[in-house]
Symmetry: C2
């Protein structure tokens, strides 16, 4: 059980070494919430097939004293089930349902909108060995046109996308964290989605006076400033 | 404290006597969840100003042994705070946040879409004394065109609106109720929104094989079949 209080985290990172995957970000926050040290095993998209006998196609995967657990949802369940004496990531099935609903809503709205604004950043920022794969996936399979065209009007689209987050702003007028007085996995999932954006956002999506920034700042300050990596872009300007 | 275990509920009803307001529906379910008998005080829109010295503009309002509490959100808080020994409507602030987020999402999506499909039903079904008020509000202030035109293509629009509810369908593959193994106010809020629709839906919005129907059927069966009033329309056909 977590020798030396440490759990290994296989992490999908950019060439700079900073985490890209929103699913890894939420898992990082979850591991810290449970009080573990993280033994980071960063890799590229191509590297996923070179690790753990090529058994996995997606990250995160954690390894806890030999036990391997993939999938950020399953990892959160595993951590709560295996370490119930440590701070819980969820207090009820309703909270898990909230997390799932909120995450689905963010993917359909914010992430969908922002993804097309930062596609070219992603191609530029991934590891050299990932570049052709990401370019092909985005240009030929997702957008089916040159990514320079896709991002051309992004400043306008980022402005127009801001109201998409109003329901989150409204919620944060009712409690300091999405989970109440203290953050839990509900916040970490949402924060992880914003940290994904911060890994790519060469043009900031939000305004400095956005009421979301208070929660984002508090979230990025958690666990010794987990979202304060200088390789991340600011989300507001 | 709830003499005879009974709480008075001021209720906004249609001419048939069946509850219209989604906020009253959720409060009815909440009162039953807390184990109270309901002393119903049904009224019309016009009647709201004749009750309780005309102090309130909206329903529900409850009266618990002389203590008057308006607003469905505040009523739920009041019930949990005053009767913590009875089944709780929420177990955490995160669950309240989920309820608020889910409700906001339903209003922007499903209710917005369905409201325009059932506007003419509402005009027809309200109390005689409410008819001019509702007709004026809907025709002149909300839609700004004849309601016959607004509802003309509703069968098609109801079909097209069905995918709006996919996130709810997805959630219900993960647990039997939105709140987990047992329903709480999260479910009651969502069910109350569907019961609003059932009070008006002369053309059913859903298909009989909609996976939502299992949850809706279980929800409408609660508390001795609270949603099985023969004056309600079926939501699926």
């Amino acid at each position: 059980m977590a020798r030396n209080n440490t759990i290994r985290l296989y992490d999908l990172v950019l060439a700079s070494g900073v985490t890209l995957s929103p699913f890894v970000w939420r898992t990082k926050l979850a591991l810290k919430h449970k009080g573990f040290e993280i033994d980071g095993a960063p890799t590229s998209y191509m590297g996923i097939r070179r690790m753990l006998d090529g058994s996995y196609r997606r990250l995160p995967v954690i390894e806890d004293d030999g036990k391997v657990v993939p999938d950020s949802w399953d990892i959160a369940e595993y951590l709560d089930a295996t370490y119930p004496d440590r701070p819980m990531l969820y207090r009820s099935q309703a909270e898990k349902n909230f997390a799932r609903f909120l995450d689905g809503w963010m993917w359909k709205g914010m992430i969908h909108a922002w993804f097309s604004c930062y596609t070219l950043d992603q191609v530029k920022l991934v590891h050299e060995e990932d570049r052709d794969y990401v370019l092909d996936a985005h240009q030929n399979r997702i957008f089916k046109r040159p990514l320079e065209e896709v991002v051309a009007d992004r400043e306008q689209r980022l402005l127009e996308a801001r109201p998409l987050l109003d329901p989150l702003r409204d919620l944060l007028t009712h409690s300091p964290w999405l989970a109440g007085d203290e953050p839990n996995q509900i916040d970490y999932i949402a924060l992880g989605n914003f940290l994904w954006a911060a890994s790519l956002a060469s043009h900031p999506p939000l305004a400095k006076d956005d009421p979301l920034m208070d929660w984002l700042d508090r979230g990025f300050d958690l666990f010794g400033g987990i979202g304060r990596d200088p390789r991340l872009y600011p989300l507001a300007a």
